[in-house]
Each structure stands twice: as C-alpha cells, then as structure tokens.
C-alpha cells in the first residue's frame, strides 16, 4: 500500500459536521455531555471519544464584517511524529507508526502514566493526543481498519462538499497544489499548511491563528525546542542503551 495522505480544503467546508459524526459512528465513540459555549462548536474540544472536531471560530474585524472560520481538526499523522518519540521513551509500544500507510496509531492496549501523557501531548505541535480515564491514549486512527480494506476513512467518505479528501500521497499533493493555484486569485493569503511534514494537509486562506491556535505548527510551542534538543542527543542515549 502506498503512502497515504489527506487533503482538507477549508474553502469547501460548510461545517455541517458530517465528518465529526461519521468518525464517532465508525469508531463507536459515545457522545459527551456538553454545555453551550456561546458558539456553534460542539463539543468544546477533542477528547478520548472525539477524534474529529469541526472548530468554529468567530473573528471580529474592527469596522468590518465579522468573519467565521471552520476548521475540521484531527491528527495530522506527521511524517516523523514527535508524540512517538516521547512515547517510545515513556511507554514502549504506545504509539506506532505504520510504514506502509504512514498512519500514526495509538495502541489501545498500552497504558500511560498521566505525567508521561502530558509530555506526549505537549510534544504534539497540533495539540491532538488525548487520554481516557483508564489511562489509554486516543486520537484519529486514519480509519486504519478501513483503509487496509481499500475503503475511505469514515470522515472522507461522508463529506458532502469535497472538503475532505484522501488517497495516495503523490496524488493528494498534486490535488492540493492544483487547488491552491485555483483559489489564489480569490484568496491572496491562501496556503497549504506544513505540507512536507504532515499527512493531513489543510488548505487555509487566512491567518492560521484565525482558524485555530494549533492550525499550523510553528516554534511558539515551548516543547518543540526541548524535543529537538532531545532528539539531537538521542544517538548518544541509544548508544548507552546498547552498551549498558
């Protein structure tokens, strides 16, 4: 199986939340009790039982019309996932990186301590990992069981507007770049988010922060630097393991 990727075209997203519900349904995740947050987003955040969440962000422009940004958030299935780096040290086998598809999978059989989980979550530039009360980490699985049977992930299959796309990475990249060229005329700030680093490529047309605090990875996340330094020293620690 070829390397897989998503392309999420936010210009086509109407925030119908079909993806969010299809994800819940396929993964048999229960509903969560929520409170009115003052906007249309529901639930308020991702959780161990909500792997996919359409974020609604209202932005007030002084003197202008208020703007509304929709962001169907999910795990980006990084090319080299920082969460796995941390987990490998803290809870062996808790996170797996599938070589064929590139899916980053949290092992539901491996428990992790709350303190260790905190580090895993902080390592994620997109703030995706969540933990259940039983100490099991959870997030988007790329519908691993479905894609291995040649089926589309539940969120992609259900999308009525074509905002969610999935396929072989090469084709997805072509599709994403083609669409970027198309929308550039209308939206001068259009961009593809972290294309080279992740397998879930978002097309956004404004300042990423207007969509979501963690829409695009940058160096403002403190742990990123810590992680990078840790990686730098990793060959040494590995060597120590081998000797010791």
């Amino acid at each position: 199986m070829a390397d897989k990727s998503f392309f999420i075209d936010t210009t086509k997203c109407t925030a119908c939340r079909g993806c969010q519900i299809a994800c819940k349904q396929w993964n048999k995740n229960p509903g969560t009790k929520t409170l009115q947050q003052g906007n249309h987003q529901n639930p308020a955040d991702l959780s161990a039982s909500t792997f996919k969440l359409v974020r609604f962000n209202e932005v007030e422009v002084p003197g202008g019309e208020p703007q509304w940004f929709f962001f169907p958030d999910q795990c980006r299935h990084c090319m080299s996932p920082p969460c796995k780096e941390v987990a490998d040290e803290k809870a062996k086998g808790a996170i797996i990186h599938d070589e064929k598809t590139g899916a980053v999978i949290f092992n539901p059989k491996v428990k992790i301590k709350p303190g260790d989980f905190k580090e895993v979550r902080e390592a994620c530039p997109y703030d995706i990992p969540r933990i259940s009360g039983a100490g099991i980490m959870a997030k988007c699985t790329m519908c691993f069981d479905r894609i291995n049977e040649g089926m589309l992930p539940a969120c992609v299959k259900t999308c009525p507007t074509g905002a969610m796309n999935f396929g072989d990475r090469k084709e997805i990249l072509e599709k994403a770049n083609k669409r970027l060229e198309e929308v550039k005329g209308t939206y001068k700030d259009a961009m593809l988010a972290n294309t080279d680093d992740v397998r879930v490529i978002f097309l956004i047309v404004d300042d990423p922060k207007k969509y979501h605090k963690f829409a695009v990875a940058d160096n403002t996340i403190g742990i990123t630097r810590k992680m990078a330094l840790k990686r730098l020293f990793q060959p040494l620690t590995s060597l120590r393991h081998m000797i010791g």
Partner: protein
C-alpha cells in the same frame, strides 16, 4: 548549542539527521500495526441493505450493515446513489442510532391533561385515544359554511405539522387523510 534558535523547520531537519540514531535506538523492536489492530474490519461479511435517509427532503442514499442476527451494526453513505454519491451530513451520518440507541423510547408514554407525570400505555389504547380526540375536536369545530354562506366543509380545530421523514407516497396518503377530515392547516417541514 542552547543559543541556537530552533524553529519548527530546523526541528524537522534535526529529526531527519538523527533518524539513523532513532532506528538504532529502537533496535528493530516495534509492534506491527497489524498487531494493534488485529481485529477485522467490523463490517466484514455483514449484509448490506440500501435505504434512504429519513431526515430531509434531499433523500441521500444509505447502506445499512446488519450482522447474522439482523442487528444493525453500521450505516454509511451509499456511493452508488445518484443523489448523494456516498456523502451524508451530520444527521445522516448518525442514522445508525435510529436503530441502536438506548435513549430512544421503547413504549408509548401518555400524559393525561393536568397531570405532571408520564405513564406507559399500550399502542392500541393510544391509537384509540388519538382517534377519539380527533373525532371530538372535529365534531366541535367542523364548519359547513363560512360567514358568506359558501360551502367550505372545513375543520378549524385541528392542525398538522410534519413530517419530512415521510416519503412521497406516504405524504400523498397523509395529505389525503387530512383533507378528508377537512383540515386546512397542513404544514410540512420539508427540510432540516
């Protein structure tokens, strides 16, 4: 080194440079994803039945998966359906819960006038009660002629609201029944 500014970009470069080290660090020990997700596709071998979403007038196609015992185990968009081509909105995507949902009512509940509590009743009793109430209201409000003396034969005391969940033929039958009773307040919530 600590003064080196590491951006997300350089961070990824660093990770590339240390990839060899990481592989050695793992010593080739890694659980295969197949082990983690050893379970089969949960709809493998399930019976597939096509259906139409009951929620709005778009009428998207749904495939309902049932197990050997006939229990609904999954429902998702039908890619071969000409209207929706496999797509479903949030309501359609939740249609599995029409069949499987512990919060659904299993029995008819009745709250008597001025009562503050619900009690369980039988279907037969409920249908009789509805029929009796319709008769009572119709008899009381039926109008043969209007103020101008024209024949109208209408029932002003009853209104009907709904239902988008009905198909074309059901709508025809339902409308026919309401007109026969003399209703003029017939409203159909055709979308959402």
């Amino acid at each position: 080194m600590t003064s080196m500014k590491i951006t997300r970009r350089t961070f990824l470069k660093v990770s590339g440079a240390t990839a060899a080290g990481t592989i050695m660090g793992g010593l080739g020990f890694d659980l295969s994803p197949a082990e983690v997700y050893a379970q089969e596709l949960r709809i493998k071998g399930a019976k597939e039945t096509t259906s139409i979403c009951c929620y709005c007038s778009v009428g998207c196609g749904i495939i309902v998966h049932t197990d050997a015992k006939g229990k609904v185990i999954n429902a998702e968009g039908d890619p071969d359906h000409p209207i929706s081509e496999g797509a479903l909105c949030a309501k359609g995507a939740s249609s599995y819960q029409i069949a499987v949902n512990p919060h659904r009512l299993q029995k008819v509940l009745y709250r008597a006038p001025y009562s503050s509590t619900w009690k369980e009743v039988k279907w037969e009793w409920a249908l009789e009660k509805i029929a009796a109430n319709i008769k009572k209201s119709r008899d009381a409000s039926f109008m043969e002629k209007n103020a101008a003396g024209q024949v109208v034969n209408r029932t002003n005391g009853i209104a009907s609201v709904g239902s988008a969940a009905m198909d074309n033929e059901e709508c025809w039958l339902y409308s026919k029944m309401l007109r026969a009773l003399g209703l003029i307040y017939v409203e159909h919530q055709a979308r959402i």
